[in-house]
């Protein structure tokens, strides 16, 4: 049985796993945006926090994903359900590109522009929301794009701890030594990654200031 036949016959399961996958990626990327952007802003305001925050996010990235899932298993509430665990781990991985891009995006704004704003009597808040964030937006979206694409790939591993998603097919296919089943998980995941990359890439280009 080839992969297309398999997917056609199991189309409702394919759809269900795809939606699960999308849920894991979507929620974790959203959480990473909500945590990462404020952290990125924070370290532009308090340079002393710069190294510990970026360093911490960097270290998380170096932990192999399977090991990170394992480490988080004993955590209360989180560890009780596989999807919570997977979302937490994916969020942690997605933090680095978001913090880093928010930081470099804001730092990349021409200092003459922010100084002109201060010289005219804008408050720090006004400069942040009216000048720095709008001008850094395309760089921040580039960070979201990287985070989303990484998450689509990493989320396949979440199936190893029973969190569902398209990784189910990949692990099942590996166990059954069946390429068609592996591809039934891998192809939709690849399409999802490409779509995320393409659509966020378009947004990034539209928001680019020049």
């Amino acid at each position: 049985m080839n992969v297309w036949q398999f997917m056609l016959e199991n189309h409702s399961e394919v759809l269900e796993l795809t939606l699960e996958h999308l849920w894991l990626v979507g929620v974790s990327t959203l959480l990473a945006v909500l945590i990462g952007i404020p952290l990125g802003i924070l370290i532009t305001r308090w340079p002393a926090l710069n190294k510990p925050v970026l360093g911490g996010a960097n270290i998380i990235q170096t932990i192999p994903s399977l090991a990170l899932f394992g480490f988080l298993l004993p955590a209360p509430w989180i560890g009780a359900r596989a999807d919570r665990l997977a979302i937490l781990a994916l969020t942690l991985y997605a933090l680095l590109p978001l913090i880093r891009n928010t930081f470099t995006g804001i730092k990349g704004v021409d200092p003459a522009i922010t100084e002109a704003g201060r010289g005219m009597g804008m408050t720090d808040r006004q400069i942040l929301f009216q000048v720095e964030l709008p001008l850094a937006l395309s760089v921040i979206v580039a960070g979201i794009r990287v985070a989303a694409v990484i998450s689509v790939g990493l989320a396949t591993i979440a199936a190893a701890i029973g969190a569902g998603g398209l990784g189910e097919y990949i692990f099942r296919g590996l166990a059954m030594v069946n390429d068609s089943v592996i591809l039934a998980g891998a192809i939709p995941a690849a399409i999802m990654a490409l779509l995320a990359d393409f659509s966020l890439g378009l947004l990034e280009k539209r928001l680019s200031p020049s």
Binding site: A112, I113, E115, A116, G119, M120, G121, T123
Partner: protein, 260 residues
């Protein structure tokens, strides 16, 4: 000039020094008074301390020792946001926000001062006319304008909330010679109508003689002399003479052209 004692200083520096955190001194023992309605030029080469002096006025920098007063009041006692909104600030080339239209750029201070939108709109139109720009330019972005147009927008933005003081940091420095001469003439005409107190930073002696009512020559963080343009061209002070020689002949005509 009319630096009479009964005319209170709009800006006063009292023994002001400014040092970087590493101890490097950018400005040393500066004392001077700038009076209402004059165009006070800070002249000097790069690194002479003229921009530092300017930034001490709107507190973008804070004096290490000594005191800077605006309207008889030490700037340290001012609410810094109020102080800055009362002072127009024009800098070379890049000060416009690239993601704002001309209208939003010019209306920036009125907007953060919560003026009603129709009043801001009317003010923007008035200012565009004042600086010689077409009303239709309001919806454009800074990148769509020529250098001269951008600089006019910069001046309009600084004038938006009708400040008494105007700080201009080499505002015409990045323009081609013809546009620069045009803007200098317009500035003179504008200043004759508005009588703002202007502090103008430049390294161009011709510009200083043309626009200034008084010229302060600075060198290595020190104030060398303060002269009217007429006094300046006849000064025997060695540094002034060196400056005059560097700019060559024909300065007298510059002077005459400058006094309409």
């Amino acid at each position: 000039m009319d630096a009479s004692s009964n005319n209170p200083a709009a800006i006063e520096f009292r023994d002001v020094s400014y040092r970087l955190p590493d101890g490097h001194e950018l400005l040393r023992d500066l004392s001077l008074k700038i009076f209402r309605g004059e165009t006070f030029v800070l002249l000097g080469r790069s690194g002479s301390g003229k921009t530092t002096t300017l930034k001490l006025i709107n507190r973008l920098l804070a004096a290490s020792t000594g005191e800077v007063c605006v309207a008889q009041r030490p700037v340290a006692e001012w609410d810094v946001i109020r102080l800055r909104r009362g002072i127009g600030y024009v800098i070379q080339d890049v000060g416009l926000f690239p993601h704002f239209t001309v209208e939003r750029n010019i209306g920036l201070v009125p907007r953060i001062e919560d003026w009603p939108p129709d009043r801001i709109h009317a003010r923007v139109q008035e200012l565009l006319q004042l600086v010689g720009l077409e009303p239709s330019i309001a919806s454009r972005y800074p990148r769509e304008l020529s250098g001269g147009q951008r600089q006019r927008v910069g001046v309009a933005r600084a004038l938006a909330a009708d400040p008494l003081l105007l700080l201009m940091d080499e505002p015409f420095g990045a323009l081609d010679p013809i546009t620069r001469a045009e803007l200098q003439r317009e500035f003179l005409a504008l200043q004759q109508r508005l009588h703002k107190t202007v502090v103008f930073v430049t390294h161009d002696l011709r510009e200083a003689l043309l626009l200034g009512t008084r010229i302060a020559l600075m060198e290595s963080g020190r104030l060398i002399t303060v002269h009217t343009p007429q006094e300046f061209v006849h000064s025997t002070e060695p540094l002034v003479k060196a400056y005059l020689e560097a700019f060559g002949t024909g300065l007298e005509t510059q002077l005459k052209r400058g006094r309409p």
